[in-house]
């Protein structure tokens, strides 16, 4: 959330190497980020494979990244307002995937369901999953974080870790501890259309079609509405916001609700996109999404989305060209590189804590 930003610190005396660092942090990182796709594009062209293979990977990377972006928004919203890394957020997302899958059965959604029934049913699933995740997030905030508002920072942090495990165990109780396949209701890997030979699958369209409007609405909500302004004010200075008559606790609860709603939307998209669920998917997705939020600049909505998309693309390229076993190393190497030259993230600004 941009509201977490504060005025830049007064300029300090320039040191040798500062100019180089500034150049690297602006242009160098851009070059580094595009290096992998450009490198493999050149290799493909040299081998006469054309641009389609790398474009295929980027399309899948964007759609995968859209899911990470939706989850990352929850991390960044909460961090922006109370500077807490809500480790339970990913597991809340996992609960959302289970809610969505349960609703398939309740609503009778199967592979045989007609298009209209499917769209209507999935819309219900989307709304219910969002409400479920939003409510769970608010409940966690009320029960576990609010009583620790004035406690040392480690206390809510470890409480968040604790809640993460509680939710994982709820998941195990609900659907067991193994991965399980769910019906591929949208024929996720069916090629919907091709553009110059680049394949766009049903799941790619779904992920982007859900993410773009939600991010747009969330941005509007935060920038234009009264409660959104209250969230930004609280993020800047909770004490000053309180003195100005803002109900800080309610505002924080609302922030958790927003984050939960995004996670709920991501959970349905994930269930339809991946078609395999398990209790640990939240931890894994949470880790990636948190990395995305940090990479983009934690506390910044645009940063979370950008970070999600970058990680999605990096994962696809690395899986396909370097080897799946190296993908986490590649993603985190990029994170380290960005942190070294831009500790505030790609589009982040200095936060209360950092600044």
């Amino acid at each position: 959330m941009e509201a977490a930003s504060v005025a830049a610190a007064p300029p300090v005396a320039r040191r040798r190497g500062d100019t180089l660092r500034r150049l690297i942090s602006t242009y160098g990182l851009i070059i580094a980020l595009v290096a992998l796709p450009v490198l493999y594009t050149i290799i493909d062209l040299v081998h006469g494979r054309g641009l389609v293979p790398i474009a295929d990977l980027l399309v899948q990377g964007i759609s995968n990244g859209a899911i990470w972006a939706l989850i990352a928004l929850g991390y960044t919203l909460v961090y922006g307002i109370i500077e807490l890394i809500n480790f339970a957020h990913g597991d809340n997302f996992m609960i959302g995937t289970f809610v969505a899958f349960t609703l398939y059965g309740t609503l009778g959604l199967t592979l045989a369901t007609g298009p209209l029934g499917l769209i209507g049913g999935l819309l219900v699933c989307l709304i219910v999953s969002m409400i479920a995740c939003g409510a769970t997030n608010v409940m966690i905030e009320r029960v576990a974080y609010r009583p620790l508002r004035n406690a040392p920072k480690l206390a809510p942090l470890i409480t968040a870790v604790g809640f993460s495990f509680i939710l994982q165990n709820v998941g195990i109780l609900w659907f067991g501890s193994s991965q399980f396949s769910v019906p591929d209701l949208i024929h996720s890997q069916h090629v919907l259309f091709t553009v110059a030979g680049v394949r766009v699958h049903n799941s790619d369209v779904l992920a982007v079609a859900v993410t773009i409007p939600l991010v747009f609405l969330l941005t509007l909500f935060i920038t234009r509405t009264r409660i959104g302004k209250a969230m930004r004010a609280t993020a800047q200075d909770p004490e000053a916001a309180r003195l100005m008559g803002i109900n800080v606790d309610t505002t924080i609860s609302f922030t958790f609700l927003m984050g939960g709603l995004m996670a709920g939307a991501a959970s349905l998209v994930y269930a339809l996109y991946q078609t395999t669920l398990w209790y640990f998917s939240g931890f894994q997705a949470g880790l990636i999404a948190f990395t995305a939020a940090v990479m983009g600049g934690i506390g910044n909505l645009k940063g979370a989305v950008l970070g999600g998309l970058i990680i999605g693309c990096l994962q696809q390229i690395s899986d396909n060209r370097i080897g799946a076993q190296w993908t986490p190393a590649v993603v985190f190497a990029y994170l380290v590189l960005i942190m070294v030259f831009r500790p505030q993230g790609l589009v982040g600004e200095e936060t209360r804590e950092a600044g």
Binding site: N64, Q179, S181, T275, T276, Q315
Partner: protein, 426 residues
């Protein structure tokens, strides 16, 4: 001076404690020798959580059935036999043997003075952990399902130091009733060859079993005239394998792994990326948790393209198993998973070794001796012996296709001997 002597005394104490701790790895049980009591315990350690639950339950049911047949009322000669079932998986690590839990199970058995046999593990990775502990304790062990080469031999596919590192006592205590992966690898290649595969994309799940079998398949593929095009290790926690699958350029695909390592997603993504590929899997995925969409398995259209190999033959090629299958159906209300037959034979072999030991059935060393002297045993799996490494001399594999969500026996696969990588087998 006083300080120096105190330090020396302290160092000696630390050394003694350290040595004692090192020696206690076996759980403090008797190292070989006799069990004082007339009541003997057979431990069975299998993964009951996650996707392996069905197979493990079948193995345990088979073991119970054999115990009831060969030691009615739990009596074998002058001894009473008790079966103690343990779970080597955990909720956090389901579908396979959890290293910590397996260690705990092996230590429990090693620490129990009445232990006479340990039947397990189901997963080769688990046996890597339990064999050394039980070996130190001199406890005979039989696995109903392990196929990893390095547990018993240094054949191709094993890692440096194997298998000696699993036997700290220097004596062999472990045997298995399923053929090792040098044979399964050759069987899979034989099947692919007969199906007309020219090239294969070979992925594995990174486990001891999966990676080892993949090495064996690769070694067999070369003489079999099948090109291995893309070797990859899949990560269980990856949300999908679409980008990886986009690299499939072969006409056949083989994943060497177990269902619990996200096998269903692997096959879904590989099948979608390569719509004309023939799909193959080993015994690790030949179970309903993998083949049945209603149980979270692969969709029917992917199942229709999938074949698996299991060291169990169907009834038509395993006539001696018919009465056991009938008894199983009668007692448990359903036909056994193929591993149920192996569970039965594992217990039957253990009881046979005890029976042959006679009055010395409470002497672990004597029982181990009898186990390794198993020659031309007329069993429900066919006639086999246990060789000096603890391997069965059986070599037949069964080919299974997916029908109505179940692995269904197609035919016997006799691996072409030219495809079996040669090794020193020590």
């Amino acid at each position: 001076m006083r300080l120096r002597s105190a330090a020396a005394t302290g160092s000696c104490c630390a050394l003694v404690v350290g040595l004692a701790a090192c020696g206690g790895g076996g759980g403090g049980g008797a190292t070989g020798g006799k069990v004082a009591a007339k009541s003997l315990t057979i431990y069975s350690s299998l993964p009951f959580q996650g996707t392996s639950r069905g197979q493990s339950t079948a193995v345990l049911n088979g073991e119970k059935l054999a115990l009831a047949k060969f030691a009615p009322g739990g009596k074998l000669g002058q001894f009473t036999i008790k079966l103690q079932s343990l779970d080597d998986s955990t909720a956090q690590n389901p579908g396979t043997a959890d290293e910590g839990q397996t260690r705990q199970n092996a230590r429990q058995a090693a620490g129990d003075k009445t232990t006479i046999f340990y039947l397990g593990e189901f997963n080769s990775g688990g046996s890597k952990v339990s064999i050394p502990i039980l070996n130190k304790g001199g406890i005979p062990q039989i696995s109903p399902a392990n196929t990893y080469v390095g547990l018993t031999t240094n054949d191709p596919g094993s890692e440096p130091g194997e298998p000696q590192k699993y036997y700290p006592s220097g004596k062999r205590t472990y045997a298995r009733v399923v053929p090792r992966d040098t044979i399964q690898g050759a069987a899979l290649v034989s099947v692919m060859k007969s199906d007309g595969c020219k090239s294969v994309t070979l992925w594995n799940d990174g486990t001891t079993y999966g990676a080892g079998l993949a090495r064996n398949v690769e070694l067999s593929a070369k003489p079999g005239g099948i090109a291995v095009q893309d070797k990859q290790r899949t990560d269980k926690t990856a949300p999908n394998y679409r980008a990886l699958a986009a690299g499939i350029k072969s006409d056949c695909f083989l994943w060497s792994g177990v269902t619990g390592e996200n096998g269903v997603q692997v096959f879904k993504d590989a099948a979608a990326a390569c719509p004309n590929c023939k799909l193959y899997g080993p015994d690790g995925v030949s179970e309903e948790a993998f083949t049945n969409p209603a149980k979270g398995g692969i969709p029917a259209n992917v199942g229709a393209r999938t074949k698996t190999t299991v060291a169990t033959l169907g009834l038509k090629d395993l006539p001696k198993a018919a009465p056991v299958i009938a008894a199983y159906k009668k007692k448990y209300g359903a036909a056994p998973d193929p591993y149920g037959i192996y569970g039965y034979e594992t217990m039957a072999l253990a009881l046979d070794a005890l029976k042959r030991a006679g009055a010395q059935a409470n002497d672990r060393s004597a029982v181990i001796g009898q186990l390794f002297q198993t020659k031309n045993r007329n069993s429900i799996l066919g006639t086999y012996s246990i060789d000096k490494n603890g391997d069965t001399t059986l070599t037949d594999y069964g080919l299974y296709a997916v029908k109505n969500g179940k692995p269904t026996y197609q035919r016997k696969v006799v691996a072409d001997k030219k495809l079996i990588p040669s090794g020193s087998s020590s």
